[in-house]
Symmetry: C2
Subunit: 186 residues, 2 copies
DNA sequence: ACCATAATAGATCATTTGATCAATAAAGAA
DNA sequence: TTCTTTATTGATCAAATGATCTATTATGGT
């Protein structure tokens, strides 16, 4: 309950939010928090773990590599599931706060995304591309960034944004793959 | 000098950085800061203004609307100049910190980008697109996000990144416009 | 019912931090 | 020089904040 409350509170005000305000929101005393967490840093680490863990599906590498499905279908499915997992007020903001703070978990997460999701995706797109035009990692990062930026606008900057990002994700994936002469089926 | 130092300091540690550490970096006493700024909030506002101002070129709307040049040339030139202006450690991080804090200036900036840069850009792409396929605002935001995300990786997440983003910007613009049947000249 | 353990509260400490104020040093005009 | 104004410092206040410690209350097993 403390971790859940801390996640909600810190995602709102940042990791420098104070434990007294947090305890007030939780309806408990401030000292209770320190009964379960030795330091505030420990609490933040717990929030990191709670937010980062179980957000990554272990099925994604297999999905990306599943050549029985078209690359368009795989890419679109992956980004639908990926954005479904990370497009939340709490995840996006905790991720950005921890990224700005230079958290280790943040960098490890991005290494995972790069090495086990985006690089395989790039290789699959390379294989599926019929012509000489093949994507490099930076191209995949560009696709990725364009999609993730929807969540940044929505939850970080909190500017008006369509609530359903599905159509734009489909359009972005379609544009990206067609640049490598991969047709968008259906 | 205080504003410059505060910009460097706050962009590194966030807007909650304390005035004592700042004064130490500046080589002055802490009380001196409060001689020039009534409150810390005033100082932060001054940092905002210093960072945001003079980063937007007044020539961009004219550049985007200059139909004597190809849309590809205009889009590419705009994003080269735009990223040249905002891709800096200080700007990217102050912008993100202030965005997370919900700063008013942040929202006004995004309204400016949307209304006076991206919407005109969208209209120009619509005019240049020969086929029935026309971009909407979300498509332009996708192009924009993919490019800005390079700076986010570089300065926010601080992950390995090519130092020259020029080639990827060219590639991204090329892919985007060709999706609307606009050929990439040269 | 009894007892050991866990949960929770309240008071408090020590540090940090924004802000103030009086005093001193520097600068520049007359 | 002299005087006024500005720049700068050092000491200090008051509030906020992470953390601690003791006492009290609840819980569950026997």
């Amino acid at each position: 309950m403390i971790i859940a409350g801390a996640t909600a509170y810190f995602s709102e005000v940042g990791l420098e939010g104070n434990t007294r305000e947090l305890s007030k929101r939780l309806g408990v005393t401030q000292s209770l928090i320190f009964n379960y967490f030795n330091t505030k840093t420990d609490l933040i680490e717990a929030v990191y773990r709670a937010v980062y863990l179980d957000r990554i599906s272990p099925d994604w590498p297999a999905l990306i590599g599943d050549r029985s499905r078209s690359i368009h279908d795989r890419t679109l499915t992956f980004y639908r599931e990926y954005t479904h997992a990370i497009f939340s007020y709490e995840w996006m903001r905790i991720f950005m706060f921890s990224g700005l703070a230079g958290a280790e978990l943040n960098r490890r997460y991005l290494e995972f995304v790069s090495g086990l999701l985006l690089r395989p995706l790039m290789e699959e797109v390379c294989l599926a591309a019929p012509g000489p035009e093949k994507p490099e990692m930076e191209d995949i990062w560009n696709l990725h960034g364009g999609i993730v930026y929807i969540g940044i606008r929505r939850y970080i900057y909190q500017v008006p944004c369509p609530e359903d990002s599905g159509p734009e994700i489909r359009a972005a994936v379609g544009r990206f793959l067609s640049a490598f002469d991969i047709p968008c089926q259906d």
